[in-house]
């Protein structure tokens, strides 16, 4: 939209504009909390109903991959935070590389997730398609894997969106970055950290139950 001097401006100042954008991202994150909140609620309802099934299901997950992914994601979040912190026209090159590195770590996460999914497929743990577990705990284990697949798939989708955001910002920030880009980067970083936080919750809910007692 072209700026027209004949009209009152939309924003009083640049910080005013930036804080507006940032508030938008926070409100968006609030909706995301509720989106994952519904899933986590479903998880707790069924974990309460099938405690043993959930513990058993959790013991079937790939904790090594899960832990590695947690480390990968935390590192990438750190790189993004670093990029936001040092952002200035002088450091444009470093910022670009930090963002690319963070995006690559995001892709590593997706790849590891893919390996994890294929192993679960081989073990016949995908509900509906080839779930093959019999016995008294089967229902609980199946519900655990329903939650596992839905939650991690939605999380992975968020990751993909985040990776696209980071790469786009890396490309934009390469040349002549301005305060506007800093705002965009800051908002994208908020999103990336949020996706990271969601993963930490999912990690605790998916990989850890039932491990200590076995």
């Amino acid at each position: 939209m072209p700026e027209r001097s004949a009209f009152a401006p939309q924003y009083a100042s640049i910080p005013h504009r930036d804080h507006t954008a940032e508030l938008g991202m926070w409100v968006f994150i609030a909706t995301e909390v509720l989106l994952f909140g519904g899933l986590v609620l479903a998880y707790f309802v069924y974990r309460h109903a099938f405690p043993q099934g959930f513990a058993a299901g959790s013991r079937h997950t790939e904790i090594v991959i899960g832990t590695a992914n947690t480390a990968v994601l935390l590192t990438s979040s750190f790189l993004v935070a670093w990029a936001v912190e040092i952002f200035s026209p002088v450091t444009a090159k470093i910022v670009t590389w930090l963002l690319i590195a963070a995006a690559c770590l995001g892709l590593v996460f997706i790849m590891l997730k893919g390996i994890e999914y294929s192993r679960e497929y081989d073990e016949h743990l995908v509900p509906g398609i080839d779930f093959q577990l019999a016995g008294p705990k089967a229902n609980g284990v199946q519900l655990f894997f329903v939650f596992y697949f839905v939650a991690t798939a939605i999380h992975a989708l968020h990751m993909l969106i985040g990776i696209c955001l980071l790469i786009t910002l890396a490309v934009i920030c390469r040349k002549a970055p301005t305060t506007r880009h800093h705002t965009a980067l800051h908002s994208a970083a908020l999103y990336w950290h949020f996706v990271d936080v969601v993963w930490i919750f999912l990690f605790a809910l998916i990989y850890l139950p039932g491990r200590s007692s076995s």
Binding site: A8, H19, G38, L143
Partner: protein, 535 residues
């Protein structure tokens, strides 16, 4: 500044479909909502014609199920929820706070496209295969027995949900950040307080619906037991998740309506709103408590008695802020200089109909009565009094009130008043008999019924005919006025709101200079004269 306004800056299709002007986007929404309103209305008409006789002589039971599902889905998700926020809200929010646009103009346009995409997908599902689950998509019916178009319809609703979220987000940020200098929270028009509360619900409740529909689709596609009890799932969980959105959604529908009524009652009785702060905070209270009452939809579902008692209690509590608002409107009217212009007739109709709807809501919040009335026409009558008698009436009132601002034209006052009276009359004739039907035990969603119910059903269908005509009338006289009506002045109602301080229709970026607010809203008694800023 020349006499160019937002409608005349550019005439190309491109300038409409790629616009980021909140006013033009409001018009886009307005046109699409008229479309959906008449589709939903056509289904309602078919339902009422069928119910005029006790036998099934118009449609088969299967078609009947599809008709009421279509009516429900279209009306709830593609008319009632977006109506006031997305048309009137989109148009007047920036004007009322003295901003040149919403905080995220491009996001605003995107949400219209998302809305249309969702609408088209749902419409396709309904027309191609038909969905017979009712608008609630209750499992396990929707996941095991009904045809698979139910997933297509749910996908449409899911997509439209993003549009709601984005609109709510935009309003929250706009109201927080873009208020004109001097426009403190307690100087904010009450319509904006109610839209703010509505937006909070949109932002916090809609994602829960999204995840619910996603789980439903997962269950349907992969045959896993999230809601299917045979494999360990729980159909009640669906109802909890669904109503966690859908009860607050009722407040998404009614809160903006209440906000409009504040503007109308105050303007046409020329008085400050009585108890401004109470009305403002009641919107917030309704939004907050509205999240805690969903279980009253499940009194007979087999949930625990304790849960039912708590939800019953909370439902009584949520009536308190609503009642405060009604008392404040009547107190505003008291000793006011009341003008019975068309918007005021709608506002008065709203107060009457909303009161009936609200009081019968208390009947239903009462556990013992609810068990008797569950799934009867009493419930149907109750929520139509709130959603149609309340929300749609308020929508029409607001539309007439801001029409001169939106189009720059005046409509025929005679026809507008006639339509308002007819709507009130037709509405009561349609839905009051349904209270009696329900109390006598006629279940909802039945298309064949014992002959002793026919008298009330015929009355109701007759009322629906009047209502249909009354709803069609504005299409003609407003449509005529949009092109041939008399030119409207900048401030036809002599109202103090900021939106009346710019020309009608407003220029592309609303205000020539940044308005500054120096007084509380609704100062009608100060012999207020608007200063025309763009003359």
């Amino acid at each position: 500044m020349s006499d160019k306004n937002y409608l005349t800056t550019d005439y190309t299709l491109r300038s409409w479909f790629l616009t980021t002007d909140h006013k033009r986007i409001a018009i886009l929404y307005f046109a699409s909502l008229i479309f959906f309103f008449f589709i939903g209305g056509a289904a309602a008409t078919a339902i009422r014609i069928e119910l005029a006789t006790p036998q099934a002589d118009l449609v088969s039971s299967d078609v009947y199920n599809r008709l009421f599902t279509m009516h429900g889905i279209i009306m709830v998700w593609f008319f009632l929820i977006p109506s006031i926020p997305n048309t009137l809200g989109n148009f007047v929010v920036p004007l009322m706070i003295g901003a040149r646009d919403l905080a995220f103009p491009r996001l605003n346009l995107m949400s219209w496209y998302i809305f249309m995409l969702g609408g088209c997908i749902t419409l396709f599902a309904i027309l191609a295969g038909g969905v017979d689950t009712g608008w609630t998509f209750y499992t396990p019916f929707s996941t095991l027995y009904s045809n698979s178009y139910v997933i297509v319809a749910a996908a449409g609703v899911f997509i439209a949900g993003f549009s709601s979220i984005l609109t709510g987000l935009n309003f929250i940020v706009t109201i927080h950040r873009l208020r004109a200098p001097g426009l403190t929270w307690y100087r904010l028009p009450l319509f904006l307080w109610s839209l703010y509360a509505t937006s909070v619900i949109l932002v916090l409740a809609t994602p829960v619906l999204a995840i619910t529909l996603l789980l439903m689709a997962t269950e349907r596609f992969f045959g896993v037991g999230i809601f299917d009890p045979r494999i360990g799932g729980d159909p009640l969980l669906f109802q909890h998740l669904f109503w966690f959105y859908s009860h607050p959604a009722v407040y998404i529908m009614i809160l903006p309506g209440m906000g409009v009524i504040n503007e109308l009652v105050s303007c046409f009785s020329r008085k400050e709103v009585f108890g401004y702060k109470f009305v403002a905070w009641c919107s917030v209270a309704i939004a907050a408590v509205g999240f805690l009452v969903w279980g009253h939809h499940m009194f007979v579902s087999g949930q625990s008695l304790v849960a039912s008692l708590v939800f019953s209690f909370m439902s009584f509590i949520v009536a308190v802020p609503s009642a405060i608002k009604v008392f404040n409107w009547t107190a505003t009217l008291h000793k006011g200089s009341i003008h019975f212009d068309a918007p005021m007739l709608y506002a008065l109709a709203f107060i009457g109909l909303f009161t009936i709807g609200g009081l019968t809501g208390l009947f239903l919040a009462c556990l013992a009565f609810d068990v008797h009335a569950t799934d009867t026409y009493f419930v149907v009558a109750h929520f139509h009094y709130i959603m149609v008698g309340g929300m749609v009436t308020a929508y029409f009132g607001g539309l007439h009130y801001w029409w001169p601002k939106i189009t720059g034209r005046l409509y025929s006052e005679y026809w507008a008043r006639t339509a308002a009276v007819l709507i009130f009359f037709g509405f009561n004739l349609t839905f009051f008999p349904q209270f009696i039907l329900g109390a006598e035990g006629m279940p909802r969603r039945y298309h064949v019924y014992p002959p002793e119910f026919q008298v009330w059903n015929v009355l109701s269908s007759g009322g629906a005919a009047i209502l249909a005509v009354a709803y069609l009338m504005p299409l003609f006289y407003l449509g005529y006025s949009a092109f041939h009506g008399r030119r409207a002045p900048a401030n036809p109602w002599n109202a103090p709101g900021l939106e009346w301080q710019t020309s009608s229709p407003p220029p592309e970026f609303n205000f020539a200079s940044q308005p500054v607010v120096t007084r509380a809203p609704y100062q009608y008694n100060e012999h207020f004269q608007a200063e025309p800023q763009n003359a």
